[in-house]
Structures are given as C-alpha cells and as structure tokens.
C-alpha cells in the first residue's frame, strides 16, 4: 500500500513539475541565417514550376552568400500546413499564397502574433509603385500589406472561331450585350454543338452575371449586398439558361464544360486564363472576347479577379533577405518570363504596359478583361462566399427557394460569417 502511495505521489510530483518548465523560448535577434526556406504551390514538373526555379536560380547567382531551399506544398493544403508549421516553429521564410489564403492566414495569431509579416515597414513607397495599385490593395488586410502580388487571374469569354465559321454564326465581339451572347448560343441549337458551355451551378460562373445586373456584390465597407436590385434577375437568368431556355446543360460541371470545349463540342466557354495552356495543347483554335454588357444597365459582366503572391513569415529569421527574395520573385523580369512562357497575367505596371506583352491577342484580351473584374473584400471568412452562393444556387435549382429568397438568405448568412 505504501508503495502505491509513493508511486502516486511521484506521478503527481513529476506531472506537476511540467508546469515549472520554462514557458518562454529566448529570441535572439542576432541569429539571422543565410538560408531561406521557400514554400511554393506550383504543380510538379509544370512550366510554372520551371519558371519559378529559373528565377530562384538567378537569385542564387546574384546572392551567392544566400542559400535558398525550395519546398513544394499542395495549393489546397497551403493554409493548414502553414498554420501547423507556424505553431511548431517550423514555418518557412517565404510562402506562395493566394488572396483567398490571406483571408484565412491573415486572421490567425499564434500567442498573439500574426503569422505573416506586414510588409509595409520593409518596403519603400517607390518599390510598391511598380505594382498595379489594385493588385497591391488586393493583398491588404486591415491596412497591413500581407503579400506582394506576383500574378493575377481572371476569366473571360473564349470561343472556337472554326465552329462559328462552320455554322455561319457571327463570332463574339467586345461590344456584345448579354442578348447577343444568348442569341449566338441559340444559333447553335440542333447543330450537335453546345452554344455555351458553362457550369452554372458554380457561383464563380454566376458572379459575372450578377455584377452585370446588380453591380458590386459588396459595398465600400465590404458588406454583402446580394439582395440589392438586379441580382435576383441575374439568378433567374442563370436558372432559365439551364431549365427554361435549355441553352446550358445541367450536366455541365467544371470538368465537363472544359472537356466539351476542348473536344470542339462547345462554341463558347467562360474560362480562366490559367487554362489557356490546356486548350493550346488540345489543339483547338481559341479566340477571346470581353464578357458582354447588360443591354439596359450598361454594366459589363465582371468576373472575379484573383491574386497570387508571396508572403514573409513572422517566424523568418532573416526578414530583410526574405523581403528581397519576395521582391525578386515578383520582379518585372520574373513576371515577364512567366507571361511569355506560361501566359500568367502580370501585376507589374512596366510588364503590363510593355508592347511585347500585348503581342499575343489572347493575353492582351485577358489583360483588357482584368480591367473589368471585381475583387472580394479582404475579411475573415470571405472565402465562404463560394459555399454561400453555391447554396443559394442549389436552393434555386432544386425549387426550394425563389431567387429573391435565395439571395436574401445568402446575404444574411454572409453577414453572419463576417460577424462570427
């Protein structure tokens, strides 16, 4: 009995002693290392990864005293892996993030300190002036600049001119209205070719219609205004395209839409710049036109503009060098290389305005489209908009709600998400 008592006492003592373990890790400011760890999210063996590695190699040559270690992480796992690594003190110095990632990472604090560095103290105003102002604003959260924008992405109207010629339909033009778009789609009925192939159950594709009918989805304060005039009409149109007019197939999921266009079974598609390479490889003739204008409101359909850039971790042991590398990776040379080799839209003003950048009509078209886009507010929970709007579309498609009710519910839910 005495033995058990001693044992229990020992256990209590040792377990209690853990509370006496030092709780603060000493921080030295003089332990800056010459090794930078960089997490990127490019697909393995992709052209984008090749461009990135070329840029890193050039940085190594310019800075022989610096060592750069590159680690690939899955794009969809970026947020979780970065948060987990930061909690364990293993965060990389630099990480490639999308603006949607920042709305998640940007609100996380570990022991009261944000995960990523506010870059404003690290950069001069002149260094920031070389970026398109909207792309810099898209990387800010609560005034802090959380990343440097390296590229932007948007969707536009792509069409197959061979199909238009074969069926004697006038191809899309930049001054088209939505009525022109629907008339052209109708002209392909009974030809065995889909006029318009878009996955209308996904909010990303419905949002451009919403902006043409009702304007901005969020007000100047970043609050949702989905129940404003016009949005319900847009949702009704998306419903009619599928169910009443039959111009868009219910079966159009994202991959299905893409594969129809790739196989020459669809004349038009609303598609992202990031997929241009796939169509080029599929060997089909592709042209681009701006998304059309609403005939009454005069508002142009505006797709979402997404940004990808580089953030510096608050745990970086060499922040000045990390910022230098971020500047390098977002520099004009790197962006020009990415544009030429991978059709990646730049954020650097000198590259955007460079005449050479406009030689490829597809890229020139997408850069023109980038001027007619919208950005999501940089707030905690913003990324939930896709789930919220998808739910509204699902409620409408399944007949459980009319457009007004669905959008009103979506607005209420989005406000609740922001307040959560």
């Amino acid at each position: 009995m005495r033995t058990v008592a001693v044992l229990i006492l020992w256990c209590i003592l040792t377990w209690a002693l853990t509370g006496c373990a030092p709780s603060e890790k000493p921080v030295s400011t003089d332990d800056a290392t010459n090794t930078l760890e960089v997490w990127h999210t490019y697909s393995a063996d992709s052209l984008e990864e090749e461009v990135f590695e070329t840029s890193i190699e050039a940085f190594r040559r310019q800075n022989p005293d610096m060592s750069v270690e590159v680690v690939r992480v899955p794009f969809s796992q970026t947020v979780m892996q970065f948060i987990t690594a930061s909690q364990g003190g293993e965060a990389p110095d630099l990480i490639r993030v999308a603006d949607s990632h920042l709305t998640q990472i940007g609100v996380v604090t570990v022991s009261g300190v944000p995960l990523v560095e506010d870059l404003r103290p690290h950069l001069t105003p002149q260094q920031l002036r070389r970026f398109q102002p909207l792309t810099i604003e898209g990387m800010r959260m609560d005034n802090a600049l959380l990343a440097l924008p390296a590229s932007q992405g948007t969707m536009s109207l792509l069409y197959n001119p061979d199909l238009f010629a074969a069926h004697q339909v006038s191809p899309p033009r930049d001054d088209w209205t939505i009525d022109d778009l629907l008339a052209a789609a109708s002209a392909f009925e009974e030809t065995g070719v889909d006029g318009l192939s878009i996955p209308l159950r996904w909010s990303l594709w419905v949002m451009p219609f919403l902006t043409a009918y009702g304007g901005d989805l969020f007000d100047a304060q970043g609050d949702p205004r989905f129940s404003a005039t016009g949005f319900a009409d847009a949702l009704s149109l998306s419903y009619a395209l599928e169910f009443d007019l039959g111009l868009v197939s219910s079966a159009n999921q994202i991959d299905a839409s893409k594969s129809k266009f790739s196989r020459g079974q669809a004349a038009m598609i609303i598609e992202g710049v990031w997929n241009l390479e796939d169509y080029r490889q599929a060997g089909i003739n592709v042209r681009q036109a701006l998304l059309p204008v609403h005939p009454d409101t005069g508002l142009r359909m505006r797709p979402l503009n997404t940004l990808i850039g580089w953030s510096v971790s608050s745990q970086s042991t060499n922040k000045p060098a990390s910022v230098d590398l971020a500047l390098w990776l977002t520099g004009a040379d790197t962006q020009r290389d990415a544009l030429n080799r991978t059709l990646t839209l730049p954020t650097d003003i000198s590259v955007i305005e460079d005449a050479e950048s406009h030689e490829n009509p597809l890229i020139a078209g997408f850069m023109a489209q980038a001027n007619h886009t919208f950005a999501l507010p940089m707030r905690r929970g913003t990324q939930q908009i896709f789930l919220v709007m998808d739910t509204a579309i699902e409620l409408l498609s399944s007949g459980k709600a009319d457009p007004e009710t669905a959008l009103s519910g979506a607005e209420t839910e989005m406000r609740a998400v922001f307040e959560r």
Binding site: T29, G88, V108, T109, V113, P121, N143
Partner: protein, 486 residues
C-alpha cells in the same frame, strides 16, 4: 540725353526687378531634412522636411544611398482628394499632423502650399547607416532644390513570432512515460513479493503496448476533451481559455445537430446492414464447394478491399459525374452527386461496395470453422438449407458477427474518406447548415478546419466519442457477445 538716362534707368530698373523676381522665386524653393527619431522602429526611422516654393506638377523626392529614389510625392491640386486614415498611413508622410492626401490610384500627393512633411523612412536595414537627401524636382526632372545629406539609422531589432513553447508538453509526455515504466516495475515487484515469479515476461510484453496506447491514444483523447472546454480558435492559437460547457451548449443548440445526427444514423445503419447481409450472402455462396471458379470470384470480390480506399472512391467520383461511366452505361446525364437524394444514395452505395469484401472474407473464414459434422447430420435428418442456416450456420457465426458488426458500425460512423472525397458533404441546401451528405465526422472537419473553431469541433468529437462508447456497451450487453465468446 536726360531722356536717354531716364530710359536706361527704367530699363535697368525693370531688368533688376525681373532678376529679383525670378531670382527670388528660385531662391524661395528650398528643402531642409532632419531626423524625426520618434518614428524609429524596426526597419524604419523618421524624416522631417521643411519645404518652400512648391509648384503643381513638381514632386518632392526622398533619396537614399540604399534605394535610390525612396519616395516620390507629386505636388497636385488636392482639392476634393481624401486623406488616408492615420492607422493606414504607415508608409505615408504626414502634413500638418494628418496623413497626406491620396489620389484615385491611392498614391500620396501633396498640395503646393505644403511647408512641412514628416515621413516614415521604411525599408531600412537595421544597424546600417543610410545617407538621405530630399529634393524638389520639376516636371522636366530638373532639380530645383536639394537638402544637405543626413545620415539616419535604426537599431530596433526584429519582432519575431515565437512559436508556442512545446516543452511543457514534452515534459508531460516524458513524465507520463517514466511513470508508466515505474508503475509496471512496481507491479512486477509486488508480484515477486506475493510469490508470483513468472510474471516478468508478461510485463515486458504488455509494456510497449501500454506505453504506445497512453502516448498515442489516451493522451490525444484527454487533450481533445480538454480542448472541448476551451475557446481554442484559429484566430488566437496558443491563447485559449477555459469556458466550461459553453461549446457543448452550442453543439446541442445547433440547428444542424438533428440533420447531421439523423443522416449519420441512417448512413451507419444502412451501411452496416448492407455490409453484413451482402457479406454474409456472398460468404455463403463462395463457401459452396460445388461453385465453379470460387477463387476467381473471391479474388474479384476482394479487389475493392485490396485497392486503397481513396483511389476507389476517386474512381467512383469520376464514374458518377454527368459525363461519367455510370451515365454512359445508363444513357443518361444524371447529376448523381449534385442532387441531395441521389448524392445520399450514391455515397451509401459506394461505401457499401467498399465494406462488403471485408465482411465477406471474415464471415467466410468463420464459416470454415463450423464443423461439417453438423451439416451432414442435418442433411441426414432432412433439414432444409434455410433451416440449416437458421439453426446451425447463423448461431455459430454469432461470435464473429457481433464484434464484426460492432466494428463495422464504428468504422462507418467515422467513415470520413468516402463522403469527403465524393461530395465534401454537399450539396448544401441550407445556409450555415451541414450539407446533405454530411455525417458527424465530415461536419466536425468543416467546423475545425473551414471555420477554425477547434474548441467547438472538439466538443462535437467528444459527443461522437460518448455516443460510440455508449452504443458499444449497450450492443455488447444486449447481444451477450462476450458471453458467447467465452
């Protein structure tokens, strides 16, 4: 002559006036730079400028030997332009105590009447002197005035994020480990005192298993339970505080609890039923000696189990798409995973397909253990096949069937992969509600990793844990499985 002198004097006077005016104007353009040390922080310090003679179209430049042009502020008509909020103006200059104006491109601009500026000189390398000069430049780029060079520096060191200290946890794990070793040693010593000298190997055998269980199972469960009583949240990691039963209250009051609970129950019961009935049926068929090509069938039926589950599920996900194999076979374009009812049926059938082979193999093995004498005797007595199954096969399978069905219940209840990979819990038919195919574990995943609410997710997990423990105890007692085994 006098008229000549008058004209000459007038000319000289006009020229002098012009000279004074133009010279005076040139003289009026000046810029002086001084340090504003109160703005010094990590990678930045302050600079104060006194300005005069600015004109619209010109600009004020701050140059450093590290950056070249550090800041360029155009001089413009600022009427109607707004100023940045003070908290947003970390990189902007201040004029008259307020941030300077910004134009439509959010670039800083100042008015021609600006006489002083206070700027944060950002982007400095800590501990390094930087030479700074300010200048006034006209629209053609010509230098109109330049300050003398001053040297500035910041020695403020980096405010680096220190990760939460994990050493207390390691100490805790270490002390638990040592305690366990001591406990086992004490128990062994106690056995020796009682005369049981043969127990040494027993302690050695169970020791590693107990240590692994405590460290890898009991500790995480205990930590999870602790987490459920805190406000642990993604926004303040490492700073959670005890909030009692609040998370459990939130779960129980949650409008999604009934929906997700009901579907989890249906999903589990239907799956276990399909696993057991189909597994049993196939085991019976494959156990018939007269069946031609039994091994081929058995191999084919084992394939879903042999292939990693996530690969099988992803294959099904492709086949169930509107353009997938299933639709091609049916000649339809149904969106199986996009509609609530069909999605629920699809995920259930795919999971049944995945689970049947395990049940079939286990029951098939158990059937082989039943003595053939009983069936031969039944045949002699003219007992029908059905009655042989009812009175011989099934009762003898009970000892295997009960733990198997219990395992199947627990596995299916917690089957994350199938639903997550097929539908991610969707389609969603209510705002802020679980998706149509969400079961508890997939919903908990969303709560934890989509909403970042770790405390609430832990409370959900504890409820799932309690449900499963209660069910297991109830099930084992009701079926008297342990008695049957012994």
């Amino acid at each position: 002559m006098s008229r000549f002198w008058i004209s000459l004097r007038s000319f000289i006077l006009i020229v002098s006036l012009l000279a004074v005016l133009s010279g005076g104007a040139a003289y009026a353009q000046s810029v002086e730079a001084s340090s504003a040390e109160d703005l010094t922080d990590y990678r930045r310090t302050g600079l104060e400028l006194s300005l005069s003679g600015l004109q619209e179209g010109w600009s004020v430049e701050i140059r450093t030997d590290q950056h070249g042009v550090h800041t360029r502020i155009p001089v413009k008509d600022v009427f109607g332009l707004t100023r940045l909020p003070a908290e947003a103006a970390l990189q902007a200059c201040f004029s008259d105590g307020a941030p300077v104006h910004v134009d439509t491109d959010q670039q800083s601009v100042i008015g021609a009447g600006t006489q002083s500026l206070r700027c944060a000189l950002t982007g400095l390398r800590p501990g390094t002197d930087v030479a700074v000069q300010a200048a006034i430049v006209d629209e053609t780029g010509t230098l109109r005035a330049q300050s003398s060079e001053i040297r500035l520096r910041t020695d403020v060191s980096d405010l680096r994020l220190t990760p939460p200290d994990t050493r207390p946890i390691l100490y805790l794990l270490g002390s638990i480990l040592i305690s366990l070793v001591l406990l086992l040693s004490a128990l062994r010593w106690w056995d020796i005192r009682r005369g049981n000298l043969k127990s040494r190997n027993a302690y050695l055998y169970v020791g590693p298993a107990i240590v692994a269980l405590v460290l890898l199972t009991f500790y995480p469960i205990t930590y999870g339970i602790w987490l459920s009583f805190t406000d642990a949240n993604q926004t303040h990691l490492g700073q959670s505080s005890f909030i009692g039963l609040e998370n459990f209250g939130t779960v129980l009051m949650s409008s999604g609890l009934v929906q997700v609970g009901l579907f989890t129950l249906i999903w589990t019961v239907v799956n276990v039923f399909l696993h057991v009935t189909l597994g049993l049926l196939l085991a019976l068929v494959l156990n018939r000696e007269t069946l031609f090509g039994r091994n081929v069938y058995r191999t084919i039926l084992l394939l879903p189990w042999a292939v990693p589950a996530y690969i099988s599920v992803l294959a099904w996900q492709g086949m169930l798409q509107p353009e997938g194999l299933v639709n091609q076979f049916l000649g339809a374009e149904a969106n199986f995973l996009g509609e609530a009812t069909s999605a629920r049926i699809s995920v259930t059938l795919v999971n049944a397909w995945l689970g049947v082979p395990f049940m079939m193999m286990s029951l098939s093995g158990a059937m082989k253990a039943i003595s053939t004498d009983m069936f031969e005797a039944a045949d002699l007595d003219g007992v029908s096949r059905w009655n042989q199954f009812r009175h011989i096969t099934f009762p003898n399978l009970k000892t295997t069937l009960v733990p198997l069905s219990l395992l199947s219940f627990i596995w299916t209840f917690n089957m994350f992969n199938t639903i997550y990979l097929l539908t991610r819990g969707g389609p969603y038919l209510g705002f802020g509600q679980p998706g149509a195919t969400d079961i508890m574990v997939t919903y908990i995943y969303d709560v934890a990793f989509e909403y970042g609410d770790y405390g609430l997710a832990a409370a959900w997990s504890v409820i799932v844990f309690l449900l499963l423990v209660s069910f297991s105890i109830f099930y084992v007692r009701q079926t008297r499985a342990t008695e049957a085994v012994t």
